[in-house]
Amino acid sequence: MNLLNYALPVAALLPFFGAAVVASSARFHRAAPAWCSALAAFSALLVLIPAMSGVFAGETLIQSWSWVPSVGLEFAFRLDGLSLLFTLMILVIGLLVTLYAGYYLSAEDSKARFFSCLLLFMGSMLGVVLSENLLLLLVFWELTALSSFMLISFWQHREDARHGARMALAVTGMGGLALLGGVLLLGQIVGSYNLTEVLAAGDIIRSHEWYLPTLVLILVGVFTKSAQFPFHFWLPHAMAAPTPVSAYLHSATMVKAGIFLLARFFPALSGTSEWLWIVSTAGMLTLLLGAFVALFQHDLKGLLAYSTISHLGLITLLFGLGTPLAAVAALFHIINHATFKASLFMVAGIIDHETGSRDMRKLNGLMKYMPHTSVLAIIAASAMAGVPLLNGFLSKEMFFDQTVVASGASSWALAIPVLATLGAIFSVAYSLRFIHDVFFNGDPIDLPRVPHAPPLYMRLPVDLLVIVCLGVGMLPALTVGPLLAAAVKATIQGQAPDYSLAIWHGLNVPLLMSFVALLGGITVYVFRARLFAWNDRHLVRIDARVPYNAVLRALIQVATAITRRFDRGSLQHTLAWTMGPAGLVAVAGFVSMDSPLFGNRTLMDFDPVALIAFGGLMLSSVLTVVMHRKRMVSLILLGVVGLLVSLGFAKFSAPDLALTQLSVEIVTVVLLMLALFFLPQHTSGVSSRWRHIRDAIWAVGLGTGATLLTLAVLTRDLSPISDYFVENSVSGGGGTNVVNVILVDFRGFDTLGEIVVLSIAGLGIFALLRNIHLHASLTDMEGRAWSTDSHPVILQTLSRLLFPLMLLFAAFVFLRGHNLPGGGFIAGLVAALAIVLQYLGNGIQWTSARIRTDMHRVIAAGLFFAIATGLVSIVLKFPFLTSTFTYLKWPVVGKFEVASAMIFDLGVFLVVVGATVMILVELGKFNLLQATKPGKHTKGDD
């Protein structure tokens, strides 16, 4: 096993591992986090060194492992020239920033937190540039957003840091989502998420119908990350971060991630007019806007931030132009910008650190106090301005050259070099302002601290970076030549164009443009006072943050409004929202009916008895509603409704249903009686008239709809389900009572579920009622006391007489259940009624003393029987609840059928008895307490 086969993932994950170590290293030594952090970055660099030679030779190293193959996610890494360029920037500048930050942070800042966040960020960035799989890249992309959020908000106590961090996260996070969408589309088009395939499929992508949405989504991701117009506004606010963070994130890494992606997708997406227009327009606007606004910043870091925006715009514009040479210039400028901007940010940090201020109106004449640093800053700023012999000059010349080439396309394109020169003029002007205002221009004005030179190690990184600026500026081919060549080859994915890194290209148009820019910049700076006044009067108020905040506020307002609309906590409102759509659908259904509503089956004839019964049913239903204030009356009417329904069942040859309905009806009425006792006796009329009308419309509408639907069904032919059961009930279940056979045999499993539900309901009600105190009024509505004779003698006597009879009847119903109307369920209800009648007639105390069985146990026994029946069949290797039956000849009774399902039915019986009695008695007990001990609160059970 060769460790080098794992070099790429190891390098990308080392910083993450380092972050974990760093987080816990502070307890050993104050400087430990910085050292650990540097060690992690350095090891990552070491791990990659063996792989580099191949990359310089133009090879692409890919190391991949399967991860989630079903979605195309692979743990795949790629090292080619482009990744190498970025990797080196990330790691080398990362190391310098680590060194710098070790001295920059004050004693009260948590170094462990800072460096672990920094490493997290470094790892995420490495992941982005080293990913071969686009999904993997996305994951790291999101992680850069999150870790940069933590870095920007490092000084959490500062309001501006929080706001800046949130804005950066919001904008780049949104961009990340867009990018996700773009990448998903790309993956769908290509059929793979691996860069190798994607980059090779440029033609397919460009000619695909999804090209434009894909491009736009990816570009939104790129533009948000790289602070391109119109998403540039987050970057200046992110300057609230500690300066090392700005030096790292906003020069070489985070904002370059977007640029990296542009370069990465260059072969796959570029070369169309859409690409040209969108990318170069955004780049050009950003270039101008950044350069212009930078001049007016008073905050050192603000100036650098807008300058960064401008330079990023320049790079974007170059990629937008789309020619191979433009890509070369772009890549070259990426390197140069990273070096001079990182050093300038560090200088800004040094100045802030040593003087306590970053305001250029106060900072003057620092040359006297920190000459070494000042010289460094002047060189770096000159590179930024594009002064010859420095690296910035070279890439800027290439840029001008490309704008000139592009201007040949049409007469409109002539504007490109003109605008580019305009941008360069402002670039020179703000660089000049940086140099002149800060280091010369008189003396400092009331600075918080007396300026002095920075510690050596804080300056050292700047030294190194400036040396690079100079080295590249003077000997470009020797210094960055090979790296650039490798990066160009990887970016273009084809033959690299001919280009020369020489300093002198002869007298040509680009040189002239540079010259104009230098002169123009100096002129602008000299006459800056008027420009500043104009800016303060007109432009200062224009702030992209205003629309951003307005959008955010509007969103929150909309959200609040929506919430207020729906979320009112009112039950009627809730019901309306549920019923409303259902009603709408129903109406739509009636309107768009595709066949006649009524079928052509002949209906049964009316007979007078049925007519009267149904008339009674309707009348009593209506009366129940109308009389709902008179509790007793409406309860009795409700009973009548139930009775009529059960008679209806009986008439249409469903005696079993009729029996069930009857017994359920009785239990329900008793239950309601007991419950009503505790409810307020008077219902106040809270509903308004309008509400009544509205509800009436609802009710009539729904009723009509339901009636029509029922009629529609009844007038059609249908084959009932019962045929199957009627045919199979004797052969399969050994009983002729189809309903009972279905319950205990065919659908035994469901019945088991139902009795479990019933038990739970019983137990639930029991649990809810236990220990509860209810206050029932001691008098009726007119103030008359309830009768003290709660157990009339006649009822007492009758109930005791009825008890054995009812139990016998229950047994009878149970036993005949398999063949004739009856069964465990009905029997259970009858038996429960028998018991409840004793409670009603004789009082709780009397009955409790005689019926001592705990209803919990009855329920448990019932469930036990039911489950045991099922388990027995399992033991006999049949599926759960398989039943069997046989016939026994009993003396006297005769032939009698015994089915295993009867034991199951017994379970049903017991559960029904237990649950029903438990619920009713539990409610009844309150009555007892209220009646016997008025005013005293006593525990319900025991």
Binding site: W67, V71, Q156, T578, G580, G870
Partner: protein, 488 residues
């Protein structure tokens, strides 16, 4: 003896027996610490969970029993979800005991708490059963087993007005939605003469005419299901009920009830969606509901200041993403919508339970569910704050957490089926998710705490939190085990 011990329905039977045994135990040992019941329940369920991995679908499926009892991967998967969710809810309930005592027992120590630990076990049995139900009556009965237990659980804190109000609302709306569902089922039955979903599918294919009747039935069933999964506009009960119910019950509703709704939806919608003639109509209805759910859930979550209510809306918005998966008809993507939904729900289980568990603990010590109660949590308990952070970033869908992959699968599915508008909604929704989820993180890490006393965490809760954190991250990085359960 052979295969009878491997019959999958045995799992449910064992869970029911466990529930009964617990009830008995509670009845016969009135003086014992009620938490004993909970510990035994946990132990038993853990056993069931382990056993569920040894279960195999029987080879011989001829017996009529198997026609309404599914034994596919999805069924097993949802059974595991049910057991896991129940175990976590019981852990939460143990943490929640002090609050419950206050609102239930009044005076008598732990009086009336036993059932609170037993009922979830019955719910679990119902959920497991529902995972296998592929026949309307079975579906209905199992749905009711779950719902009725929930009626009791929601209203359990009977001295708390909020809990009672939630109970009443849930009862009334639940009954209403059940009514819709049953009515829809009868229509389907009237049209096809079948209650078995597979046979319904065949019958629907051969059905001539009566398109509006089929649509009507479909919509009615959708209303019922929409209620269970909290889809707009049938979501209206969610915020109030979630806020009022005891926190463990809210968590259970949010995960268990939703999972149940979705397995049923996955199974029921299939025969309809396979009906080519009406496919576009069904999809249109679903798409409208989905779009409304995603938008509303996410938008309404933004202004919330109460964490429980926030989670309620979050639950609605996640329902939207899940529904989005169900509307899809994938072309190239290797996972079916049903599998994506199952995966999403598994990750949703982890992160939601994480949030609720932290909420339960914080609620116990601060007596508040407001987001403000989480202010400066990282100073009072860095572990809790970290746990909740993982929970919320996973809910928001940050990469390398389980929540990201769920969303990612849904998005891929949506692109694959060309659901562009819904995808746009989903992206907007996910973006606003970042806002409201991170609000909690902000409170924990940026705001000053009102008091500094450390928050105590019991070892059991600590273990549960730790496992959830690890699972959230591990499955976010390496989802293969979950996908393996679903596909192999």
């Amino acid at each position: 003896m052979g295969n009878f011990l491997e019959a999958p329905y045995l799992l449910e039977a064992v869970v029911v027996v466990l529930g009964l045994a617990l009830l008995m135990l509670e009845a016969f040992l009135p003086k014992a610490d009620k938490r004993l019941v909970a510990y035994i329940a946990l132990f038993g369920l853990a056993g069931v969970l382990v056993a569920s991995f040894n279960m195999k679908a029987p080879e011989n499926l001829e017996h009529s029993f198997w026609s309404f009892y599914a034994t596919d991967n999805l069924a097993f998967f949802y059974k595991n979800i049910a057991v896991l969710a129940t175990m976590l809810v019981i852990v939460m309930a143990i943490e929640y005991t002090p609050v419950l005592e206050k609102y239930v027992s009044q005076g008598s120590k732990q009086g009336g708490l036993g059932e609170f630990f037993c009922l979830p076990v019955f719910v679990c049995a119902g959920l497991m059963w529902m995972a296998s139900a592929k026949e309307f009556i079975t579906i209905f009965v199992s749905l009711e087993t779950v719902t009725i237990s929930f009626y009791v659980l929601v209203a359990y804190m009977r001295r708390n007005v909020g809990s009672l109000e939630a109970g009443v609302k849930y009862l009334i709306l639940g009954a209403l939605s059940t009514g819709f569902f049953v009515y829809g089922v009868t229509w389907v039955f009237g049209l096809t003469g079948e209650t078995h979903l597979e046979k319904i599918g065949i019958a629907l294919q051969g059905l001539e005419g009566s398109d509006s009747a089929v649509l009507f039935a479909f919509t009615l069933i959708l209303v019922g299901l929409g209620f269970k999964v909290a889809a707009v506009p049938f979501h209206v009960w969610v915020p109030d009920v979630y806020q009022g119910a005891p926190t463990p019950v809210t968590a259970f509703l949010s995960v268990g009830s939703k999972a149940a709704g979705f397995i049923v939806a996955t199974r029921i919608l299939q025969p309809f969606l396979e009906m080519e003639r009406l496919h576009s109509s069904f999809t249109t209805i679903l798409v409208i509901v989905t779009g409304a759910t995603i938008l509303f859930g996410n938008f309404a979550a933004i202004p919330q200041t109460n964490f429980k209510r926030l989670l309620a809306y979050s639950s609605i918005s996640h329902a939207g993403f899940l529904l989005l998966a169900l509307t899809c008809t994938p072309d190239q993507f290797q996972l079916t919508p049903g599998q994506v939904v199952a995966f999403y729900l598994a990750t949703y289980l982890l992160m939601t339970m994480l949030c609720f568990l932290v909420l339960t603990i914080v609620r116990r010590s601060t007596e508040s569910d407001e987001i403000a109660a989480f202010s400066g949590l990282h100073r009072r308990s860095p572990f809790l704050a970290f746990a909740l952070l993982i929970g919320v970033i996973s809910l928001a869908g940050v990469p390398l957490t389980a929540g990201f992959l769920g969303k990612f699968f849904v998005f891929t599915l949506a692109i694959d089926s060309g659901r562009w508008i819904l995808l746009a909604f989903a992206v907007v929704g996910a973006a606003s998710g970042f806002y409201y989820y991170l609000k909690v993180a902000r409170a924990m890490y940026w705001e000053e705490p009102t008091e500094l006393a450390a928050i105590e965490i019991s070892p059991l809760a600590r273990l549960a939190l730790l496992l959830l954190i690890i699972a959230t991250i591990v499955f976010g990085v390496y989802p293969a085990p979950i996908l393996g359960l679903l596909t192999n």
